[in-house]
Amino acid sequence: MLLAVLSILHGTQIAVASDQASGNPGRSIRPVNSIADSSIHWPSAEQFLRVLTLRDFNTRVVVLGVACLGLACGTIGTFLLLRKRSLTADALSHATLPGIAIAFIIMAKLGGDGKQLAGLLLGAFIFGGLGVGAILVIRHTTRLKDDAALGIVLSVFFGVGLSLLNLIQQMPLGHAAGLNRFIFGKAASMLPVDAWTILIAALVISLSCLVLFKELTLLCFDQGYARSQGWSVITLDMVLMVLVVGVTVIALQSVGLVLAVAMLIIPSAAARFWTEHLARMVIISAVIGMVGGYLGATISALVPRMPTGPVIVLVCSGAFIVSVACGPKRGVVARTVAQKRLGRRVAIQHLLRAVYECSEMAEKKVSSGNTVANVTAPLGELVKVRSWSINQLSRLIRSACRGKLLVSGNSGVALTDHGLREAERVVRNHRLWETYLIHYADIAPSHVDRDADEIEHILGHDMIVHLEQILSGKVKSDPMPPSPHHLSVAPTDVNGVTA
């Protein structure tokens, strides 16, 4: 008996070891590699070669199939993402259940085998279509959003399907077991006919997207304009959704639920991080889908016990994480760096203004011919201007000194020539904006400081020129307008409120 069990083994040596270790021979199903003993077997060079050259028939079929699927789903998924309907495939996969149940009943009643895949798929397709129809009706006739429409269709259709399945189980039709998952394929067991179907679907989808690119773009971004151009939004929406139903049903039966859903969402969501341009986004998304499919299939062909569909999903999520981190504009790293840089620029500008204003006040006190540039602002004064800690302040001053904006002496800091120009620019922007707010936004002079604080850093040259024109009669703007409110060195709290 032990021999019989042992002879069933996968990789003989490991299996034998673990069987002996388990200590009760004869009662084990089969020594499976558990987490504990599944040391990762690096594939040999020969195996690498075998997989990379696609020497195995099944590897070829699956790689072709999933790569094409990635292309098709990546393309159409972009539009779904922008329409906020990413989860359509998931809703559809549930909505097909009543169709499958009804198809089964009809086929079994007609005396055939109830589990003819083609018949079940037809039922699934019809109910997928009905589901999408219901989604569109809900979307266009109520104020509910897409997510609610998807959820309603998903749960109600699935509930009907469950009730029908329960009835089927009471019918003497036979073989109904496993019906609810019967049409869900597994990527690894893809057949050539599946791969060809996917290839054709990919071609159809790419072509349709190419032909209808402008229309679909408008559908996603500007429905009002699309309507005014004489396109029926509902018709376009239907075209898009018919493509989605088609690709979903094909994907469900060839690669299963999880991969079908993921392929429509993840590549396009990842592509969103690399570009703002729709055409590029579609292409990047298709490429991510394709490469993800290829890589995942390759890993699954190299490493034992790696289910193909889930591995592809994980590869695509990896691509998504990389995109989230490294995307050039929207990526987390890029955004953090940009934010840091902006924060520093703002802080330094604040410092310059503080130094300038301190100097300005000092100048008033001595009321001699001193220019601002020669006056030194003592640290004690500066620290009172804003809610800076001494540490922060000295760090800022150091970095401003490095940038040759300030020179620090014993009694405090003073502006360099370069720093003076920069400070004048900042102060001028600040005061112009304050004046504008006072005159045109009816904000009390005591409150404008804080508002101007946020704007001064992002006022462009054109804006300044414009402001000068508007304010030309109201303020003497050359060379430096006076502060429209009382300057004080009273400490201000975080919100900029004067104590």
Binding site: L144, A148, L162, A262, A269, L314, V332
Partner: protein, 434 residues
């Protein structure tokens, strides 16, 4: 309903409690466009079960439940994280998180637990019908555990929502405003997600997944068509959820018997009934319903035709007597270019209200009708003057817009128009303004 027994009563009670418990957070989820939350968690549960099994080597419902709750929370947190960190649309971030976790679960299963069945349907999901067997003695009463758990979840959700009502409301409708009010929208969001995760998984364990997924979405979405106020919406969705649960079970045990079956899945039929209620409301809701929209449109159209008839008769009266035209209903219909049903309806309702009268086959305005007609024509001509004077439309282009605007102009607006156009005596076509 010959065989209604205590079993059915408890099924209905458990179903109602579960439905009500889900409908409360569901309302907020629908408002935040996160309706698919229940479905997402039902997929990721697999990964939680696999991990819980690998850690404990046990498959009993309690262990599986803990695994599912943990993964439910992780799902909720990750969805929020992906949504905020990646600025990804929330539906997409749900899809990304649940497919990835589901895939992870499948890889774990294949790698490590290929010879133990840990399908959620096998080890976690309960059935609402079977919940009756699992009874707990509480205060001397035997109560199904499912009723206590779902009732508890419902009360917990209710308390949380009552206590933090304002915070939930503001953060659901206007996250930016909530920040200025000192409410951390993110914290509220995580709180809602936690509430959802615990409620759904607790309900999965006692009544199965489809009931939860349906009750989280369908009743709140239905309520959204009935009211604009959050508090009403919550009450409605709880009420509708309970209705769906009751009718769902009743139809599950009765409808199939008409066709010779023994009954069908109660949870499936509850979801279906929730759908039926949605369709009914979608058709019949007082303001947002399809039929009522059609009805209101018809009423509006009828009013417009009625006014047009008055206007037309008034214009005909204005003409010098030599132009005397016959004013038979058929002729009116021809001039106004509306269908026979509408014009007949309009004429008869005008006659009933005493605006016009039939005299020798012709229609004539009564004094009351003449006043109304004068008002309409005055509005029309004032609008024409206004459009020409202030919007600089050519005089041959002002008739069409005025034709539409005249119907929505009341006396106050008319006075304003007259003021803005300096009380003109004639309109751009030279006709007298009455």
């Amino acid at each position: 309903m010959t065989q209604w027994s205590i079993l059915d009563t408890w099924i209905v009670i458990v179903g109602s409690l579960c439905a009500a418990a889900c409908a409360l957070p569901g309302t907020l989820l629908v408002l935040r466009k996160m309706s698919m939350m229940g479905d997402a968690i039902s997929h990721t549960v697999l990964a939680g079960l696999a991990i819980a099994f690998l850690v404990t080597h046990r498959r009993d419902p309690a262990t599986m439940f803990v695994g599912a709750v943990v993964i439910g929370l992780v799902t909720a947190l990750l969805i929020q994280l992906v949504g905020s960190l990646g600025r990804t649309e929330i539906g997409a971030s749900m899809g990304i998180v649940f497919t990835s976790l589901f895939a992870m679960g499948l890889v774990l299963m294949r790698q490590a637990i290929d010879h133990v069945e840990i399908d959620p349907d096998c080890v976690l999901y309960g059935a609402i019908e079977a919940s009756y067997f699992d009874q707990i003695t509480w205060m001397g009463m035997n109560l199904p555990r499912a009723a206590i758990i779902n009732g508890g979840a419902g009360i917990f959700n209710l308390l949380l929502i009552v206590v933090l009502y304002k915070e939930f409301k503001v953060s659901a409708f206007d996250p930016a405003l909530s920040t200025t009010l000192g409410i951390n929208a993110n914290v509220m969001h995580y709180l809602l997600m936690t509430m959802t995760a615990v409620t759904t998984v607790a309900a999965f364990e006692t009544v199965g997944s489809i009931l939860v997924i349906a009750m989280l979405i369908v009743p709140p979405a239905t309520a959204y068509l009935l009211t604009d106020r959050l508090s009403f919406m919550m009450c409605w969705s709880v009420l509708l959820a309970i209705l769906a649960a009751i009718f769902g079970h009743v139809s599950a045990v009765t409808v199939p018997t008409w066709f010779g079956f023994g009954g069908t899945s109660t949870a499936g039929m509850m979801a279906f009934c929730a759908g039926l209620i949605f369709v009914a409301v979608w058709l019949l809701a007082p303001r947002h319903g399809v039929l009522s929209k059609v009805f209101h449109r018809c009423i509006l159209q009828l009013r417009i035709v009625r006014e047009d008839v008055l206007g037309l008769l008034y214009r005909l009266e204005e003409l010098p007597p030599s132009h005397e035209l016959s004013t038979t209903p058929a002729l009116l219909q021809g001039i106004l270019g509306v269908g026979p049903v509408l014009s007949t309806l309009a004429v008869s309702s005008l006659a009933r209200r005493g605006y016009i009268e039939h005299r020798s086959g012709q229609l004539h305005l009564t004094n009351q009708g003449r006043r109304a007609g004068r008002h309409l024509i005055r509005s029309h001509r004032l609008w024409e003057s206004f459009l020409q004077k202030h919007l600089h439309l050519a005089s041959d282009h002002v008739h069409e817009p005025a034709e539409q605007l005249e119907h929505i102009t009341d006396a106050a607006m008319q006075n304003q128009l007259a003021e803005r156009t300096n009380q003109p005596q004639t309109d751009p076509h030279g006709k007298k303004i009455p």
